[in-house]
């Protein structure tokens, strides 16, 4: 009995998979756009909001009459946060499903695994949030069919150094970062370089590992190194929050400046309460404080549709869909190569994350937003240019 039950369950599951497969293949006369993001695995937390935002954008476009008179259909695959799966999905989207463009992936590794596929089959691909410098090029030549919607990590280091020096008027910085991630190492290096260009001095640079939770030794060491008036933490909220907490407890009152990794719902808790989150600044792609009507509409629609507030990732994915819409309209027909040409020529696209054009490396040229926290709440947003 148990055997039969188990066998039946297995067969039913497999058959339901097959019928779902058949159902998607039938529809015609739509413009297909592939979505290849992380829906399971470690990076699902990035891929899921991007999927929700892309679905919202497609719904809006279809309700407004579609593109070139046709409805858009999203073909959604999950990369499982696995590079081989990303290659496989991209191949399927571009060779079997006949998509005009692919959105994805949410992180750099899986995007780089799909980029050569896009070039081989000549289908444009835009990653909303793959920020590694080598996503859109191999270091010497640009990948003709790969773009991104977000600014890259070195760019943030540059912007934040400008912000600390120009907007905050600081001259003596302490740089802290994790030695376990390239994200932190790159940011710390670029920040230090640009801060020096701006006439500032980096008093001390200290590295720790991703596993650390007690930073008191580092903070004591930094305090002994001499006077400073700003701390740059090149890391994600997980450790940045703890550092802020321990620094405030140790009586360090100088402003904290950090990258987009600071943005997290957990930051207040990690930092030991809202009171510790004053004079904290971080760069981001998107701020809900913007008075732009498009941004406010997006926030309202996204919140109604999904029941949660949008993040920078969802805003980037939303912009990506509209960029593709603009490119398809400019191309005038549903042909991947023509859409790619139109995408490359895209100028001053008015997105909710800024006005976007692509440079010769297919990176977006746009301004970054530096957000100021007052009592743990985003209180002011400053647009900072590189």
């Amino acid at each position: 009995m148990k055997r039969i039950l188990a066998l039946t369950a297995t067969i039913v599951l497999l058959v339901s998979g097959l019928t779902a497969c058949a159902a998607t293949a039938e529809e015609a006369e739509t413009i297909k756009i592939g979505l290849n993001v992380e829906l399971t695995g470690e990076a699902a937390v990035y891929g899921t909001p991007e999927k929700l935002a892309a679905e919202l954008a497609v719904k809006e476009i279809n309700a407004a009459g579609g593109v070139l008179g046709k409805q858009i259909e999203l073909v959604i695959y999950d990369t499982k946060t696995d590079t081989a799966e990303s290659t496989s999905n991209a191949t399927k989207l571009m060779t079997e499903d006949g998509v005009v463009a692919v959105i994805g992936a949410a992180i750099s590794g899986t995007t780089m695994a799909a980029a050569p596929v896009a070039n081989q089959y000549q289908v444009p691909m835009i990653t909303p949030s793959g920020s590694n410098a080598l996503v859109t090029n191999d270091g010497s030549a640009v990948y003709p069919f790969v773009y991104r919607a977000c600014f890259i990590d070195p760019f943030q280091g540059l912007v934040l150094a400008n912000f600390a020096a120009d907007n905050l008027g600081k001259t003596k910085a302490v740089v802290l970062g994790s030695s376990s991630s390239d994200y932190a190492k790159d940011l710390a290096a670029i920040f230090s370089e640009q801060f020096a260009v701006k006439g500032g001095t980096v008093v001390a640079t200290e590295y720790y590992t991703d596993a650390d939770t007690d930073f008191s030794a580092i903070l004591t060491k930094v305090q002994a190194a001499g006077e400073f008036d700003v701390i740059f933490v090149a890391d994600y909220a997980v450790r940045a929050g703890l550092i802020i907490k321990q620094a405030r407890e140790a009586g360090i009152v100088v402003p904290f400046v950090g990258p987009d990794g600071f943005e997290s719902p957990d930051l207040v808790e990690l930092a030991g309460g809202a009171a510790n989150l004053n004079d904290v600044y971080f760069s981001t792609h998107f701020s809900a404080l913007s008075e732009d009507q498009k941004v406010q509409d997006f926030i309202a629609n996204y919140t109604t549709e999904t029941g949660e507030a949008p993040s920078a990732l969802s805003a980037l994915a939303y912009d990506t869909v509209y960029m593709l819409k603009a490119a398809i309209e400019a191309a005038g027909e549903v042909d991947p190569v023509k859409v790619n040409t139109a995408l490359e020529a895209l100028k001053d696209f008015p997105g909710i994350t800024g006005t976007i054009s692509f440079d010769e490396w297919h990176n977006p040229v746009k301004s970054a937003i530096v957000v100021q926290l007052v009592d743990g709440v985003q209180a002011a947003a400053t647009v900072v240019n590189p």
Binding site: A6, L39, T40, A84, T87, A113
Partner: protein, 327 residues
């Protein structure tokens, strides 16, 4: 009976291999196997090699290893680094060679102390080894740290993939059926008894472990040149467990089972792809279903063998008997 290389059995196997090769090649040429299915086909080949090689360690010798992805990463990184310097087949060949040498040295050094452990302790020790390899790669400059190596030249094709897979399976089958393999099986059945029979257990365990590690290294090199990007996290514990799933799913000790499991899992993955996030749940449920239905794995300890194919009746008897005994 005197064994010659070109006996009836080997010739039949060779013929079967050639038929499979030609049929798949024709399907590729006719575009029935599209580029997308080819990606899956390569995945199946790579994981068949990994499954078979881990099966030699776990299924045949009975040493529970959770560090297989570590040796796969050694092969993958060796090939990737060399391919970035020499983006051609010479680079790949040298890369595979370098990977084999490093894997040999590392697995030998690791095996000597850890294989004195048993059961859970061995599993934890090998898990640690896999993690150590990953952390070393994460902190080396030549491997480009956490970002990994991207834009690795795509050089692999079906004939190459097929030759490596068939060689790996043939070597493993010969290993299992050799005197060393028999000694390994005796260790799995009862280590104390086999030691009492005069078998140098440490020697055979180390041999099996190193053999498995070498094949994993080759699979890693093929992986690197098939999927453009490798990162340290690609070869973490999740991957070791994926390989373990293939071994357990196919049947511990059955090399045929590992190959079948790789094929079945590859196909399940394709079928479930349009379901996006639901896929992993259904995949897991399918695994649970099959493990309830056949706890000994798809094929148990059964091996496909030509001599029993010639005599279908005995083959059938053996299959049902093996099933009953385990159930």
């Amino acid at each position: 009976m005197k064994q010659t290389l070109l006996n009836k059995k080997n010739l039949t196997w060779l013929a079967i291999a050639i038929v499979i090769f030609v049929v798949v090649q024709l399907l590729i040429d006719a575009r029935i196997i599209s580029p997308y299915y080819r990606v899956t086909l390569f995945w199946i080949c790579i994981f068949a090699i990994l499954g078979v090689s881990l099966n030699i360690i776990i299924g045949v010798t009975g040493q529970f290893s959770l560090g297989h992805a570590g040796f796969m990463s050694i092969g993958a990184y060796s090939a990737a680094v060399l391919l970035k310097m020499m983006p051609d087949y010479t680079g790949l060949a040298i890369g595979i060679g370098v990977g084999l040498v490093i894997s040999f040295v590392v697995s030998f050094i690791v095996a000597m102390p850890t294989l004195r452990l048993k059961g859970d302790y061995l599993a934890i020790a090998t898990l640690g080894v896999g993690e150590i390899i990953r952390i070393i790669i994460l902190n080396m400059t030549i491997t480009n740290g956490a970002s990994g190596i991207s834009n690795i030249p795509f050089l692999v094709n079906w004939p190459m993939m097929f030759v490596f897979t068939v060689l790996a399976i043939a070597l493993s089958a010969n290993f299992k059926n050799s005197a060393i393999g028999r000694a390994c099986i005796s260790i799995k059945e009862d280590e104390i008894a086999s030691e009492a029979m005069g078998i140098n257990t440490t020697k055979y365990k180390v041999t099996a472990f190193v053999f498995g590690a070498l094949l994993a290294s080759i699979a890693g090199a093929l992986y690197a040149t098939s999927y453009y990007v490798i990162k340290p996290e690609t070869f973490g514990i999740t991957n070791s467990i994926n390989i373990l799933v293939i071994v357990v799913f196919g049947g511990m000790g059955s090399l045929t089972g590992s190959v079948v499991a790789a094929i079945v899992l590859g196909i399940i993955n394709i079928i479930l792809q349009p379901l996006a996030e639901l896929r992993m749940i259904i995949y897991a449920l399918a695994l649970i279903g099959i493990m309830i239905f056949r706890p000994q794995g798809l094929l148990g300890t059964y091996e496909a063998s030509i001599s029993s194919l010639f005599d279908f009746k005995s083959h059938f008897k053996r299959f049902t008997k093996a099933g009953k005994e385990k159930a």
